[in-house]
Amino acid sequence: MAGLHRTNGGGRIDRKKRLSFTFDGKSYEGVAGDTLASALLANGVHLVGRSYKYHRPRGILSAGAEEPNALVAVDRGDGRSAPNLRATQVELYDGLVAESQNRWPSLAYDVGAVNGLFSPLLAAGFYYKTFMGPRLLGSNWAWHKIYEPLIRRAAGLGKAPTQPDPDRYANGFAHCDVLVVGAGPAGLAAALAAAESGARVILCDEQAELGGSLLSEWSIEIDGVPAAAWLAEAVRTLAASPRVTLLPRTQAFGYFAQNFVALAERLTDHLAKPEPSAPRERLWQVRAKHVVLATGAIERPVVFPDNDRPGIMLADAARTYVNRYGVRCGSRAVVVAACDSGYATALDLRRAGVDVAMIVDPRPSGGSAVSGAVKAAGIAVETGATVIATRGRQRVSAVQIGRATSGTWVRCDHVLMTGGWTPSVHLFSQSRGKLAWDEAAQAFLPASVAPGQSQRSVGACRGAFGIAAALEDGFAAGGEAVGWAARARDFKVASDVADFSGVLGASNPGAHESKAFVDFQHDVTVRDLKLAAQEGFRSIEHVKRYTTTGMATDQGKTSNLNALAIVADHLGKPVPAVGLTTFRQPYTPVTFGTIAGASRGDLFDPVRRTPCDGWAQAVGAVFEDVGAWKRARHFPEGSEDMHAAVARECRIVRSAVGMFDASTLGKIEVVGPDAAEFLERLYINPFQKLGVGRCRYGVLLNEAGFIIDDGVIGRIAADRFHVTTTTGGAARVLNMMEDYAQTEFPELKVWLTSTTEQWAVIAVQGPKAREVLAPLVEGVDLDATAFPHMSVKAGRICDVDARIFRVSFTGELGFEINVPADYGAAVWEAVWREVQKHGGCAYGTESMHVLRAEKGFIIVGQETDGTVTPDDVGLGWAIGKSKRDFVGLRSLSRPDIVRSGRKQLVGLLTADPKLVLEEGAQVTAEAKPRVGTPALGHVTSAYWSAKLGRSIALALVADGRARIGARLNIPMPSGDVSVDVVAPVFLDPKGERLNG
């Protein structure tokens, strides 16, 4: 038998399928259907962890998602390790390796437990009051250098993985008529009702098996059949409906606006040998017409001194272990029941052969409905009493039962407590539904659904306790969700328990508060809560943050309501007057991987490559990221570094010819009778009179008057323009144009179409450009007069229709060939063959930058930074002088834009021609500026110019144009550099080369 504490039969485990596993290096056996927690308990292992602050020994408290104590790390090797898993949710598989956490050197002998000795010092918020000074070193020194590192080492729970995660994660968008969360009786009934109508239904439950509380039922009959049989039939019916999707192992973790619910499905963690390529988890993003929340309720612990010893657990958890997993959590139990469900637990345990020493019920008159059955079974019941002390180092061995401070000790090896039930309103509350305090249920219940959501809570999560009630509630809601308004059905349930209310807060206020735990995981005690209130933290939000109650990985599932009641009691206010802390997603922690999904490596963001990119890759180009594009930055030959490659590329372009892949430039086809008028209103330049076949350099501002984009615009026909934008600006500019076209100037007949990807663009630049193209081009006279600078012609190249622009961003004679993208690679190769014949080369973005800087052409985003006007960069001439309006014009006359002293684009020449300035370096008037000296400006571009045999730089400098001829200073860590201010055109200011 796998585990000494296993019952002989019953439950939902397969006793024949033995599974071996290790915990802290020791081997154990469990069976199929076990969780790690049930298997450990079957082996009599109760001590599974150490607490966060005091390192107290801790056992398994629960059997589900609410577990605060039993956190373990599971390592499957190869980077597949995960900390902080709740043993109650880890499904056992053969070969599972689990470790306890937060202890050293071992779980049984943990040095950190000395913290317990200092526990009086470690009261709530102690760290805000100390670890300051000595004043001499500044109040921060000791904190940062000494205390903080110590605290950091002590804090934290498990260890983060140290290797990259090899697993993959999937995603699915789903839609349905009804999403049912929780597959207990309420959820199953809702799904059955909705499915009957043929609606699309998704039913999810975080557990491995559908059934919820029914999985733990042994004695109950529904409609005359045992609960297990009813469950099997219900699941069969649902599984057979083609429109129903059943998602076990799927947690609904977030409920967002407009019925958008996020689910996390565990796909492989429960498998001994998962298919390596199979996704580990899946994120479901569900948009549901209606949501039925059937998330059940969570049992509340009872707060008494030393209530955290291993072996002290939630009563219903013990019932689940015995009924569902066939595991007795001990042989002699004391049940502390402030709620009738604890009596039912006692009966089920007794049936399974556990000696129930006593039921202790803090309620003065004890339980009602089932107390007869309990008496008949001969179990002693002590009412109006509670546990006032416990014993047992690593496992509870006895409890003292009494009222106030004295009482009798009762020997036991486990204690089962229930303080009543807290409806799981997490998701309801996340959906922004309003909760209301219900005095009878001693709980907050859903009151009103938020606008925009269509939702119903059913069963225990809305206080409809009892299986019959849950089934009926669920069935009605399922029907209502699909429009069957008056659908109702009676379910006959034998031996149902219906009272789940219980008592809140500490059952024995006053006694040994320092060790009466409320939040087990964060070691928050009754005393901590009271101290917070005493220190003026009266809002429950303050109490939470000061004591950290409810802030651990379990987010206070078992503790928040008790904490609230204790604070309310201390402040003398009713519970609802103190309020609740906010429920936030996720319901239980969700791996980053699940949320990130496929977005890794190249799927992190699309990698955009141009049609000519393959060639560049083949010849070993070095790429840079520009937006989502990969652009060839330079084409090193042999062992060239970037500097050498760029110097060579630039030299060849200036002396012979170079080709450049400009395909990434944004392109927009602006078409319509009003196309020219439209561009006129958007760009600073005039367009009405631009002749067909001519081009203009356009500058685009935002309404604030600052440059946001630029590019060459060619008039293809009277009603058709080919507009180019910067690579990064393409989408932005198109959106802006659509905005103006649709909303500002709807009267204009103009339409925009992105053609960025339609064309591959090959720039051919250099004195030999014409010779390179001549043999390839048909139907276009490339001659200087027939095809002057800044013009565009349609023609053919390599037998392919092309738009050929005579433009230059290098200052050389140049053409930009636009061919349909699928021909781009072939045309590139054809041009390359010609280029080679003329001793030319391919050049990348870095050389492009150098070549244009030699000419003083700006790059938007480099010379401009969103605060720069056309005049600032010497483009005032481009503004259409007779224009009454264009985007941004009005802003150009604002006081700060017309003041003197604005930064203006200039050239800088270093006194030492070999020295290349650093981009971003600051410009000052004097050398060795004092700290705090305002800068006159900064260097926007700086390069080695092979053509000029010296360095050049562009800079934005206050009153720059007036300073031409002056000498300024660049302060650098290695010493000051003096520079001469010159006009921002270093080469061929008359433009003779490009007109050649």
């Binding site: 804090a155 990259p164 220190e535 003026g536 791996t591 605060t867 006081p895």
Partner: protein
């Protein structure tokens, strides 16, 4: 009672029974010399410096909820001063200087932890921008240094600097004096110190109207706990500033967006510094308690909902998982939002308003936690003197009319 190890030990012996309330919870008086609307760090700090440095004692801070519950209580606590423009450098550096002694000043451990803020560059453009910052900051006497990818890795071992990354790390700017502080402690520390100086902190009192006299000057506020008179009112309400200023008839250049953050489950120390990447959108540090604290983006639309869409957090987790592939199996424990007040130039608005007696301090958007002490300090001076403190002057509302914007966003788009 002064906080110290000694007092802690003494109180421990007495079962902590004698710790007094950290701040008083008085009933509002009928009138004050100055009323601050909003008990976030900036508002509480303003009250503290008004009392401490300017001799005003009859001050109220009016808060609609619980003090510190706004963005002060929900931010990722990144502190740095390596901003670009001189105006920004001045105010953020003033703040860092104040952070360095704040625990002592307030006798409250605000856990300022100068563990270093590293901002990653992924593109050539990023490098240019960050180097510009490095040079500008050096001139201003603000530490900020350039790291190669290998140096970045040495400073932060879990960082992935593989050139195969979709956007490889090409370098980083590091401000060593940058770091984090405990958000709640900042609010509580200022509240306690201000309260001790006589400032009345009035929680659960929502300002519903701003009263003006016949000349249009401010004469007080109406709150859900009654009318409070004052000829000086300072609005320090972050995301709610537009709503409040609207009560005084002033339209603001603000939009309020939900900004999200999330924490992982706590783990033993794995990340010893703050890492920011604006290009791929990731902001991460590890708190002293062990959670990875991760900043996400804002939703696209304005909202007062303090939540946001899953896709916004997902976007950030994509980036975190790429930059820190070992964190992929870590789990998100809690995800929340705050309402940030965003200005067109991503710089704050501090100073006078067209309404006499009404002052405003807002627009800190996604990055004002770091400025808490400096902002409070200069705003207190501005309110006390009735004219802008020199450090605050460039941040006046008039800049939107003159066009003299302080555009940190355009220059770098780094805001946290």
């Amino acid at each position: 009672m002064r906080f110290s190890l000694f007092s802690l030990a003494r109180q421990a012996l007495g079962g902590h029974a004698r710790w007094p309330a950290q701040w008083r919870s008085p009933e509002p008086k009928a009138a004050y010399d100055a009323v601050i609307v909003g008990a976030g760090g900036h508002g509480l700090g303003t009250a503290y410096y008004l009392a401490k440095a300017h001799g005003l004692r009859n001050i109220a801070v009016v808060e609609k909820g619980w003090l510190g519950g706004g963005n002060t209580g929900r931010n990722t606590t990144i502190i740095r001063s390596n901003y670009l423009w001189e105006e920004s450098e001045a105010i953020y550096e003033l703040s860092v200087k104040l952070w360095e002694t704040l625990s002592d000043e307030l006798n409250y451990n605000v856990m300022y932890s100068p563990r270093g803020v590293m901002m990653l560059a992924h593109t050539v453009h990023d490098i240019q921008v960050f180097k510009r910052h490095v040079h500008a900051n050096r001139l201003a006497g603000i530490d900020n240094e350039w790291l190669t990818p290998e140096e970045a890795k040495a400073f932060c071992s879990p960082l992935n600097i593989s050139p195969k990354l979709r956007y490889p790390v090409l370098g980083a700017a590091l401000q060593r004096r940058g770091g984090t502080a405990r958000h709640d402690a900042v609010a509580w520390g200022y509240a306690r110190a201000a309260s001790a100086l006589g400032v009345d902190i009035i929680e659960n009192a929502e300002v519903t109207a701003i009263r003006r006299d016949a000349n249009g000057a401010v004469e007080g506020v109406e709150t859900t706990r009654g009318t409070i008179k004052s000829k000086k009112v300072g609005v320090v309400a972050a995301g709610h500033t537009s709503v409040l200023m609207n009560m005084a008839g002033v339209r603001m250049p603000l939009e309020s967006y939900p900004l999200q953050a999330l924490v992982s489950e706590p783990v033993k120390p794995v990340l010893s510094c703050v890492v920011m990447s604006n290009t791929v959108h990731a902001y991460i540090s590890q708190s002293d308690k062990g959670e990875l604290v991760i900043g996400a983006g804002t939703d696209a639309y304005t909202s007062y909902s303090q939540t946001g869409g899953l896709h916004v957090s997902a976007h950030t987790l994509d980036a975190i998982c790429d930059l820190f592939p070992t964190f992929r199996r870590m789990r998100m424990m809690r995800n929340w939002g705050g309402i940030v007040d965003v200005t067109p130039d991503r710089s704050p608005i501090i100073g006078l308003t067209p309404v006499p007696g009404l002052y405003v301090n807002c627009g800190w958007g996604t990055g004002g936690f770091k400025a808490t002490p400096g902002s409070a300090y200069v705003f207190a001076a501005t309110m006390a003197r009735g004219e802008p403190h020199p450090v605050a002057a460039p941040f006046a509302l008039e800049r939107f009319t003159t066009g003299r914007l302080i555009d940190e966003a355009a220059a770098a788009a780094v805001a946290h």
